[in-house]
Amino acid sequence: MPLPRSFTNYVGRKLFRFLLTVQGLGAFGLITLAVILRKARIARHLMRPVIAQEVARAGSRLLPMFIFVSVALGLVVIGQSVSWLTRVGAINYLGSIMVIVVVRELGPLLAGLLVLSRIGAANVIELGTARALGEVEALEALGIDPVHYLVVPRVIGMALGTFALTVYLILGALFSGYLWAFIQDVPLRPGDYFQQLAGSLSGLDFALLALKTIAFGFIISLVTCYHGLAQPLRLEEVSFATVRAVAQSVIACILLDALFILIYLVA
């Protein structure tokens, strides 16, 4: 029996809109990369402080929240895994579990999602409002490339910020993990625990961690800047653009994470 026309129309429209968004994001990403490379030497006195400000905004200023989350993450992973590992006599795998769960998966993804919620959403609102109030046209009238002045600092800031915060998040979770294990009377000395961690880590983990977190920061900043800046917006449309950008960023991060799982499996 054929599907109702209204349903196929709906699915077709959604699919078409999805493809248009992917095309737009791809083009925006390529333009941003080209601007980063071609305009690296332009207006350095102006751009350096702006970039530093964005790195601080997406990095050091979020550190208190990340310390709290890292302690909580250590508790969640250790708290759950210790009791199960003790039951099956596999407590020696605690370090390995921490590496797989925290270093490879939860740490980067959680850091990306936190940066998205704190900075990515703000990006869409700031840029969308600037767009709606005509500030982007003002930049163009002054011969200032909006992608260079507004997008590039955010992309660099968020990529570096996400990477740095993930490292802190992972370190915090690994240390607090041991603390929680110690509180639960797990018969594991600190030396053994960190030896397990070191034994489970490989050079590939470090390389992929860096790549993954920088890619998360890049994707989140790109999607949020695209929705705030790339299309004409009216003030009342900014909230819808923010919701769309956050949803698409979450999906993009999860897809990217899946891609890295494939790389781990192959490598």
Binding site: I42, A43, R44, H45, L46, E126, A130, L133, G134, E135, E137, A138, L139, E140, A141, L142, G143, I144, Y149, P232
Partner: protein, 262 residues
């Protein structure tokens, strides 16, 4: 449709059969078949009722979008200019937005020095030194460290003017510069624009070409030298003030309320 007499020198603005679309919706044409020549040091006012498309036409003239049809030359170069190598040519033209369109996260001083810092890669202190006279002449000194949101609309417009003048343009486009101003500020703007047109020390005494849009022609009497109107997608050059007063068009009478016509 009339056209102004061609100048012997290279025209500053030259449009042939130009159509312009709306900045927000590029599929909507707001004016068609514009044939317009602006000579160096001319002082034009383009009048029209609200919604006639004056701002969009000015945005197209400023090069923020391409003409929907026709040829537009700015000082001999085809517009719009989006490519980096010809950017310097485009910066010979400045644009003042109706509401200033200031960057709200920057202070007044930072707004004014932004184009200088971007295009000449100047350190902050050096750029601020360069605009000191500009801020003084435009009476913006007391507001230098305030953000745009903290100052009145009259002053916001003046900051927009200062920002456009920071790069010392040869052509200045002004979108409804007198709109929403109180009498004192209106008088200041008219006097200052006249000084710019005749050569101001801020621009090293160089005469500047001015094109302003307006919804009311009266304040421009005796100030601007050439007038045009925009109505129902048509751009018509009226000529001098005497020709404006002589025009019997219904629109001209609407734009000259309480004035007597010949």
């Amino acid at each position: 449709m009339e056209s102004s007499a061609p100048s012997k020198e290279m025209p500053v603005i030259e449009m042939r059969d130009v159509s312009a679309s709306s900045l927000r919706d590029q599929s909507t044409i707001i004016v068609e078949k514009v044939n317009w020549t602006v000579a160096g040091s001319d002082y034009w006012v383009i009048a029209g009722l609200q919604g006639a498309g004056k701002s969009d036409f000015l945005m197209m003239t400023a090069g923020l979008m391409a003409p929907a049809a026709g040829t537009y030359l700015l000082l001999g170069e085809t517009m719009p200019i989006f490519d980096e190598p010809r950017l310097k040519h485009r910066l010979r033209l400045g644009l003042v937005f109706e509401t200033g369109q200031l960057f709200n996260h920057l202070t007044v001083l930072e707004n004014v020095v932004l184009p200088l810092r971007y295009h000449y890669d100047l350190p902050k202190s050096e750029a601020q030194e360069k605009v000191r006279d500009l801020l003084e002449v435009l009476e913006l000194g007391p507001w230098a460290d305030s953000t745009p949101g903290a100052i009145g609309r009259n002053w916001q417009k003046r900051v927009g003017l200062a920002r456009a003048l920071a790069l010392k343009p040869e052509v200045l486009l002004l979108d409804n510069p007198l709109g929403g101003l109180d009498l004192r500020h209106m008088h200041w703007w008219l006097t200052f624009l006249e000084q710019l047109s005749k050569g101001h020390s801020l621009l090293d005494g160089r005469k500047i070409t001015l094109v302003a849009t307006a919804a009311d022609l009266r304040p421009w009497k005796g100030r601007a030298r050439q007038f045009a109107i925009l109505r129902e997608k048509k751009f018509a050059v009226l000529g001098t003030w005497a020709q404006v007063e002589a025009a019997s068009s219904e629109l001209v009478q609407e734009l000259l309320p309480m004035e007597s016509h010949a």
